[in-house]
């Protein structure tokens, strides 16, 4: 237990003299170097690690995308073989969805959710660390397949029976199944953790309807995950049993129905779409009000539309299967239900626009990305409406029109939202502002690149170019303005412009990291609780747990309404408020010590999974490590034994594993 004694309080720090070398299992206490990160249970460090991991996978997935576009730039592309291309698009989607989008949203959720609700950590810090490490192990297993006989080649939707042992003979799909199961467990644990945190650990006075919208959207997402992940787990288990243990679930000669996989996959897969987009909605619902200097228009409507998107999202999965041969009645029902989901989504768009209406809009990079989301998502949403019409969808599905649609929604929507979050919260996390000039370059290259890449895909799709084809042929390209050759080339060029945009961001990160200039404590005149602490926040987040009276508590501590003019006037500076908190700090703040078990347990689970491919002995070893860690975990003392602490520093104060404020 790190017992943080504030300087100036009368308690003398206990000086601990190590007496013995101890055995294998004790709670780690290191506060420096790599151990600090490997064994940490601090939600902020975990959040940052989520972000780094997700960014690495974003780059990997991006390179895969560029290879795909290179292959398709010209007819009969020769860059990739059919086999490699199939692996490439499978892994591009899998990586982007499971290893970039979800973890990056997880990064924001982990870092800001406790800060936004005025908590000192998440409900289960060690489980939080476990989620991270399981995700990393899952990602490694997934990508290890590149070097171990080829990656999965069945598309991210992995339709049976094409994913069966006969039709996909390499181990790629096995690694995919195992990796996703591990990543799934990670997400499940993470979502339970975050739900408990939000429901149980809000600061006094923060009722559900006073929570920031980002927290709300994350809460909805976690509920979606809790109830959709088990379904994909079932599908993955069935596939695993079929591939590795001779089960017959998708064996048509035994009378199996391949549509079972599709139903299971999309019952998960459709809520998953909202899992991807809602965090971005949450982010811009923080960014837009901040830079428009107005609260979110229709807060309850935004919250409830988010919740109803989540709920209805469970009832529209079969719109991915309009061409799969469902009966006309089911098709009609799902078609209409899908149209219905456009309504709450539309409500959100209007609310964002009306938030800005009558505001005082300050165009920063964060704001630009948020606005970019609103516009680009609208385009993606409208093309979505065109294929909620089931008969039209039978012409559009599995063509580039669909690719265009979901990249507008996911890149124009989700990725722009996340980038908005980067620029908005960077000063909070690292205490330094990202460079706004480079930010502008970053933004414009991404906007232009994104529209150049995905805009032409609308044309390609309506001109009949199917997706997932490793080559397209001149013979089917047509001529004139809409010929496939020209627009494929444009899309490929656009993808490189897009990549340059992302490169600007990475350069910006490096430059910012090297810069010595510290960010002000309240650079954006922000509205929510996470700004009511130092940047970066202390290990214990808040010196004093805030008491909440308003939605947008921080803003209302700074501003009061001038009753005469109905405008707001500033009554306090954000920086002063933060300092005042420090002066009134609580004494005796308890934080959990780091732990070895999360990472060790993850390694055990990883080996256990690989045992499916490499045989029972490895499974036994994995199982033993898992069991060992699980029990070590349960029996772990909540406090590091006094004798476990490192020899005292010069100041004789060894227990302060959290830096003082």
């Amino acid at each position: 237990m790190a017992i943080i004694e504030r300087p100036g309080t009368s308690t003398t720090p206990v000086v601990v003299t190590p007496q013995q070398t101890l055995g294998a299992v004790k709670r780690p206490v290191a506060t420096k170097g790599w151990r600090e990160w490997l064994f940490t249970v601090d939600h902020k460090k975990i959040g940052i690690m989520y972000g780094v991991v997700a960014m690495v996978f974003f780059i990997i997935g991006g390179v895969e995308a560029l290879l795909i576009r290179l292959q398709l730039a010209m007819p009969d592309g020769q860059i990739l073989s059919a086999d490699k291309y199939n692996q490439m698009f499978t892994m591009h989607a899998t990586t982007m969805v499971f290893l970039f989008a979800m973890p990056m949203a997880g990064a924001f959720a982990n870092y800001f959710l406790p800060l936004q609700i005025g908590a000192r950590d998440v409900a289960f810090p060690r489980i939080n660390a476990l989620s991270l490490w399981l995700l990393i192990i899952g990602g490694l297993v997934l990508n290890a397949s590149w070097f171990l006989g080829g990656a999965a080649d069945g598309g991210w939707f992995m339709y049976a029976p094409n994913s069966g042992p006969i039709f996909s003979p390499s181990h790629g799909v096995d690694f995919w199944v195992i990796g996703l199961q591990i990543a799934g467990v990670a997400s499940l644990l993470g979502s339970i953790n975050l739900i408990v945190t939000v429901l149980n650990m809000r600061a006094p006075g923060m009722s559900l309807m006073k929570m920031p919208v980002f927290t709300w959207m994350i809460l909805v997402v976690q509920f979606l995950l809790v109830f959709s992940l088990p379904v994909i787990t079932v599908a993955l288990v069935l596939l695993m049993l079929q591939r590795s243990y001779g089960a017959t679930f998708f064996d048509v000669s035994q009378g199996a129905d391949p549509l079972l996989w599709q139903h299971l996959f999309w019952i998960f897969g459709h809520p998953e779409v909202y899992v991807l987009i809602l965090p971005a909605f949450g982010i811009i619902s923080e960014v837009l009000p901040t830079f428009a200097r107005k609260p979110l228009f229709g807060y309850p409507f935004v919250v409830f539309s988010g919740a109803s998107i989540g709920l209805v999202g469970f009832g529209v999965w079969a719109h991915h299967m309009f061409a799969s041969g469902l009966g006309p009645v089911s098709v009609a029902v799902f078609s209409v239900a899908t149209m219905a989901i456009a309504i709450p989504t539309g409500v959100k768009i209007f609310n964002w626009l009306l938030t800005m209406w009558g505001g005082k809009i300050w165009y920063t990079t964060a704001m630009n990305f948020a606005i970019g989301l609103v516009v680009l998502f609208t385009i993606g949403g409208l093309s979505g409406v065109t294929h909620s019409v089931a008969p039209s969808d039978t012409q559009q599905t599995d063509t580039y029109y669909i690719v265009a649609h979901f990249h507008y929604v996911l890149f124009g929507g989700m990725v722009f939202g996340l980038f908005s979050g980067f620029y908005y919260w960077w000063p909070k996390v690292f205490g330094k502002m990202l460079n706004e000039k480079l930010g502008a370059w970053n933004f414009w290259f991404m906007v232009i690149g994104m529209n150049m890449t995905f805009g032409p895909m609308h044309i390609l799709g309506l001109q009949g170019q199917p997706r997932r084809m490793y080559v397209w042929t001149e013979a089917r390209a047509g001529e004139g303005f809409f010929n496939l050759g020209f627009w494929n080339l444009v899309a490929s060029i656009g993808s490189f412009i897009l990549a340059v945009g992302v490169l600007f961001f990475l350069i910006n990160v490096v430059i910012t990291a090297r810069s010595k200039q510290q960010a002000p404590l309240d650079p954006w005149d922000a509205r929510t609780l996470e700004w009511l602490t130092t940047s970066p926040p202390k290990a214990h987040n808040f010196d004093r747990i805030p008491v909440v009276h308003h939605l947008d508590e921080f803003f209302h501590r700074k501003y009061e309404e001038d009753t005469a003019t109905h405008t707001m006037k500033k009554v306090a500076e954000g920086e002063d408020l933060v300092r005042a908190e420090g002066d009134a700090a609580d004494a005796h703040i308890h934080l959990p010590s780091p732990s070895y078990w999360p990472i060790l347990l993850s390694i055990g689970v990883g080996l256990l999974g690989l045992g499916v491919v490499y045989g029972i002995p490895m499974m036994v070893i994995g199982f033993a490590i898992t069991l060992f860690s699980a029990y070590g975990w349960v029996l772990e003392p909540s406090v590091a034994e006094e004798i476990d602490f490192e020899p005292s520093d010069n100041d004789g104060n060894t227990k302060e594993i959290a830096p003082l404020g």
Partner: protein, 374 residues
């Protein structure tokens, strides 16, 4: 720095590696033994790394402590377990794989416990402290280990008993055993005085009875009909009886409805003792149905009469095994009652011969439907 504790594991690591490599060269690199030895090597290396990594205290004091304690070594029964494991492993190599794996597990388990015990005993002068760190190092494995053994033993022995006795007796034994457990629970809960010694006695007696009964049953073998079933496999396709009468096994508990409707290419009806056919997508009766070659195709059989019928597919003749004897090839549904349906799934790899086409017939009903495979 390398601590005394980790030295043991480093030693074990080396031993594991050497024996694994030897095993690969001398025996077989791809079988279980190699995996197990590599597993030993990896786990030992892991623990060694772990203990080096975490033992970051003052080595001098440890050295002193080790010196101070070299004489006070408590008796340990792990070496015996270790030896038992070794014996089992050897036995396993000679006899069968399960014994070998079991032996290896005991060997590794015993070795780890022994090494940790030994190491813990020498850790310091304070015996209480030593037992504490022993628990910290290995205690985590004790509970699940014991629990798993209890679960495994109970479940295995219990199931052996029931496999030996007859079907009805199995239920009765189950009732008796669970009732006994239940009653014991209530007795002990109600009379605290009975706890302590008598609990131990009950547990020991219970365990003994289970063990004796279980082992005896396992040696006795399974009950007759199970053995017979296993030998005969009455469900194999060649055992199907496709006549008018009910077969012994095949028609037992037939299904009355079909869930494969989406895969049906044609429906065969029996109505008024006659059969007729309809192709999916065409609303009139046909005399022949056409199905693609080599494709598993489902034909629905619907009986509209009150008598029970079955649909039989006659798929020509084929040589039996490698002999020259020709045998009729075919398959059939189970007997189907009035207004019930059954699906018949056939895969026909060869095109039909126009002179002797494949047919669908219903024993007891008139008419036949040709099956054309282009």
């Amino acid at each position: 720095m390398i601590t005394p504790g980790s030295k043991y594991f480093l030693g074990l690591t080396g031993l594991g590696l050497v024996s694994a490599v030897l095993y690969c060269f001398l025996v077989n690199p791809s079988d279980l033994g190699a995996y197990a030895l590599f597993g030993l090597f990896i786990s030992a290396a892991l623990i060694a790394g772990f203990s080096i990594f975490t033992s970051d205290g003052d080595t001098d004091s440890v050295a002193e402590a080790v010196e101070a304690n070299t004489e006070t070594t408590a008796p340990s029964f792990w070496p015996i377990v270790f030896a038992l494991g070794g014996a089992l492993t050897l036995l396993g190599i000679a006899t069968n794989e399960i014994v070998f794996v079991l032996g290896l597990a005991v060997l590794v388990g015993g070795a780890v416990e022994w090494v940790i015990d030994d190491w813990a005993e020498k850790a310091s002068a304070d015996t209480e402290f030593n037992s504490f760190i022993r628990h910290r190092a290995i205690g985590a494995l004790d509970y699940p280990g014991i629990a798993a053994v209890v679960l495994g033993v109970v479940a295995f022995l219990f199931s052996r008993i029931m496999l030996t006795v007859s079907k009805d007796e199995a239920s009765i034994i189950f009732i008796i055993v669970s009732a006994l457990i239940f009653v014991t629970g209530f007795l002990l809960a109600a009379k605290p005085a009975l706890r302590g010694k008598s609990t131990a006695i009950i547990s020991v007696v219970g365990a003994l009875v289970l063990a004796v009964a279980g082992v005896t049953s396992a040696l006795n073998g399974e009950r007759k009909e199970l053995v017979k079933y296993a030998k005969e496999d009455p469900y194999s396709i060649s055992h199907r009886e496709c006549g008018k009468e009910a077969g012994e096994h095949y028609d037992h508990e037939a299904n009355g409805s079909v869930s494969l409707r989406s895969g049906v290419i044609a429906t065969i009806f029996v109505e008024g003792g006659k059969i007729r056919a309809q192709e999916v997508g065409l609303k009139r009766d046909v005399q022949a149905i056409t199905i693609p070659r080599s494709n598993s195709t489902t034909i629905l059989f619907r009986n509209l009469d009150s008598e029970e019928y079955r649909l039989v597919a006659n798929l020509g003749e084929a040589k039996v095994g490698t002999t020259d004897v020709m045998e009729k090839v075919g398959t059939c549904t189970q007997l189907t009652g009035k207004n019930e349906e059954q699906a018949l799934t056939v895969t026909i790899p060869k095109p039909s011969n126009p002179e002797a086409p494949y047919t669908l017939t219903v024993p007891g009903a008139t008419g036949e439907i040709k099956v054309v495979v282009p």
